[in-house]
Amino acid sequence: MMKKVGFLLLVFTIAFAAPLSALTIKLGSPFPEGSAWDTTLKRMAAEWKNISGGQVRMRIYPGGVAGDDRDMIRKMRFGQLDAAVLTTFGLKTIVPNTFVMTLPGILQSEEELDRVLADFAPLFDDDFVREGFRVLTWSKSGWAYFYAKKPSVTTDQMRTEKLAVTSTDEELAANFKALRFNVVPTSMNELMVSLQSGMVSAFYAPPMAAASYQWFSQAPYMIDLPLAPVLGGFVISERTWQRIPENFHAELKAAIEDVARDFYLESERLNQEALDVMNRNGLHRESLTEAQKKEWFDTLTGGYSLVVGDGKWIDDDVYEDFMFHVNGLR
């Protein structure tokens, strides 16, 4: 009898003393290793480990080692990767309707963007879960602007430019084509050479990219009109999320939202630094009158027919709900 009790005690002791096996989450990130953004992810990994008492660990694959958005999504579907920092293009690959939030000209201010991210973005949560993913947080990192080789303030002036649109972004290219812009599909790697050779004469990008890749040196006229917000998100596969004990979910999510705020602040700083650098190196910021701004927004918002509608990227009802929401903010 004593032997049996002793054995049971041993079993219970082992069962309760041994920690639950740690879950290692493989996270793919496009952020360069050693960058401030990469460091922020490492800080988040440390917080996740603390919150979960060491049960949830994170292994970060920085600098695009895990591939681009599409690669990372595919690897998450296979279970080779658990989580990823995705750009808006990756997010719309999973749930195309999310594209509505980054349509050129659809949002016109930071305040509108903040409200949309707080109130409208969560409406896509179920769509992501149905696809096997969960967006733990959305992040924003500035706005894209147009840059051109010659002063181009109006839409008609921009239509005379050869506008580079990334070749992976067919929907945006279609959208701009519908608006009668002269679209030239161009890969990001070839943009500088294309600008140098005159194959393209305009592009759009956030200031950070325009400065870092020195594209602005070829097309120094920047239209001072926020064209579209640069969004991203921290996505985890639903399968992995459900393997994490539920009692940790709220705190882990809070930690990641905290990180998203840091991303945003760092992005603001970097975009401002980029503008300062470009200003010192010959950037011309073309101011627009209110009438010109209105003309731009009217033009851009008037050309969604190729991407909105049945069988297209964005469902009619989603677009209408979104516009109802946005108009309520104005």
Binding site: G34, R43, K75, L81, S212, W215
Partner: protein
Amino acid sequence: MNKGRWFILLLLGSLLLVSCRTLEKKAIRSVADMLSSPDGAGAITSDDDPQLIADALPLALKIYEILLAQDPKNDELAAATGKNFAMYSGGFILLPADMMDDEMWEEAAEARSRAKKLFRRGRDYLLSALDLRHEGFLASLDSGDYDTAAAMLETEDADAAYWAGLAWLGMASTDPLDVEVLTTVDKAALLMYRSMELDDSPAGIHDMMIQLQVSLPSSVLATMRERSPLTANYMDGYYESAGIGTNPRDRAVFHFERAVSLSNGLEPSPYITMASAVSVKEQDVESFRTYLNAALAIDPEENPDTRLMTLIYQDKAQWLLDHIEEFFLVDF
């Protein structure tokens, strides 16, 4: 004492002071020459105790700076000072930071920030050395007149240009989102290519070229090529004569083979560069292991002149192998 004797004493005193200063300057110059000579550098690079050098270098760097402050026109000393700053920053600050566990993110970030400052200091000394040798070099480089700046450099400048480019790229690698630095990195690429044009026999230049091909955004090289048509011509001719096309990977492999051949296979660095820059990018575990095992198989005693760097790089190679799961998505 009459006025005549006072005058003689004053004259003698002045002469003594002048000769003391001359002697002091001569002494400084001779110490500086010794430190900046290959023998001086060899005392560091041939050591077999990386920790000893890590501990000794900060003091040595300050001695270099003190000597340089006394002899600011000494271009050799300026170049040696810059080179040692770059070496210390890369080998003893950045490399250990790269090998820190992710959980030590704060320490790693601090180390990177420090490495950036030291790389910057090293680069500036090296650029000033080139400017001392060729008046107007910096002005041409700063103003974007790349061809004029590059044309001023001669064969004797190849080493300083290489180290200046290396320090510049090192600075960018410590903080990959520093826009201010990123917008100038094409100048580092210019210095690297000009250095190779002047002397393509050191293995180190080819090692750096591997990185340049696979890590630099294509826009950086495109910008440099546009601003320096002479360098663009040189690049095209160089690769064409070697039968290499425009594919960055092909060029990286070409430079790797050149680096291995020029070092007689005795330097681990090119293998590590290929493993971490190419194999990881292509998620090729087998080549990763092959390169790193080749780096570890090198006997540091076979090339005593580079013993220190061999030991440091082999430490890195072993660390990469020990942490292979952090670079590849496959399960081990």
